[in-house]
Symmetry: C2
Subunit: 190 residues, 2 copies
């Protein structure tokens, strides 16, 4: 099929958008809600920018599980928010981060030591929406497979802990090595 | 400034490409080499698709370090190769994967248990280039800050180990949970 240059450009654009997860709420660059004030869960978050992973850290949402096979925490940020942070060392309005908690396993295939990642145990979304939330940031809990994530009440510990201990603007940049160096350079560390 | 629709579309395209790392060898979708047969290192690999992270696994390139603070391994794949895998359960020609080895730390900020990620200890690139390499795949070692990565000889253990134990086509998909389910569904697991 012969394509005009305009259509060809549209095809390239579509391909590029597909790579960044267009078609989901995510690529729009910010959070979307339903009429019950629930967050539409950004199902393509695994195609966002990976920030870091921890194993058995004891401050996460499902951190209680300790012992031989503690959980991994993977953190992802929506790409346009990431780009904003690289430029300024701060999170733009409409930033979304997802923390994905995964089970760990040790023995399997050729691996005999350490831990690798298993199934998702839960996900949480942190959202910066300055007009919508009095504290600018809010936390949402997501259950596997659900289309939406539910707002956590501001009495939950995550609000006070992030506000008090987050190295940059309510987020634990101290645990994200590639952003930590940006924040140091931009002078935005708390 | 008033923008015509065509220019606006071009701006969106530019923004989308920027998000996927255009301008680097990476977005071209495949490996590039210099005249010494070294691989141009895809410096933006942190903006690729994250596959998984392990801690202290004992089959990686820098796995010898054991003890209290073992290394993390983060694995990333170039986005168009990822998209190809989602569709077919196989790696297209020109696939590139990066394994990034990072130090781990345990005590810091509010964290009192488990491990989080520190500085990069080394990176390796695995490349599928069917015309260039007799075994289709090759491994390259990268030193921090270098513009290129050097080809490892086929006598290195990585070649035989990946060929023998990789669950899909020379890669350890058994340790990448989001791809493992795709390979199962597509019937491409070894």
């Amino acid at each position: 099929m012969k394509r005009t240059p305009v259509l060809a450009a549209a095809g390239v654009l579509a391909a590029a958008l597909e790579l960044t997860g267009a078609g989901s709420p995510a690529f729009a660059g910010g959070p979307q809600y339903n009429d019950k004030a629930q967050l539409l869960f950004p199902a393509n978050y695994r195609e966002w920018i990976f920030l870091s992973s921890g194993l058995g850290m004891n401050y996460g949402p499902l951190a209680a599980k300790e012992g031989e096979d503690p959980n991994f925490d993977n953190v992802f940020v929506e790409p346009s928010a990431y780009r904003g942070f690289l430029q300024t060392g701060r999170w733009p309005d409409q930033t979304m981060l997802v923390i994905e908690v995964r089970a760990s396993q040790s023995k399997g295939s050729i691996n005999k030591a350490g831990h690798y990642q298993g199934e998702v145990q839960g996900t949480e979304v942190e959202v910066k929406d300055e007009q919508r939330f009095p504290g600018k940031w809010a936390f949402f809990t997501h259950q596997n497979g659900a289309a939406v994530a539910k707002l956590r009440p501001t009495s939950d510990q995550c609000y006070s802990c992030h506000a008090e201990h987050g190295a940059v603007d309510n987020t634990f940049v101290q645990f994200y090595p590639t952003l930590l160096s940006v924040a140091k350079e931009k002078g935005t560390l708390k």
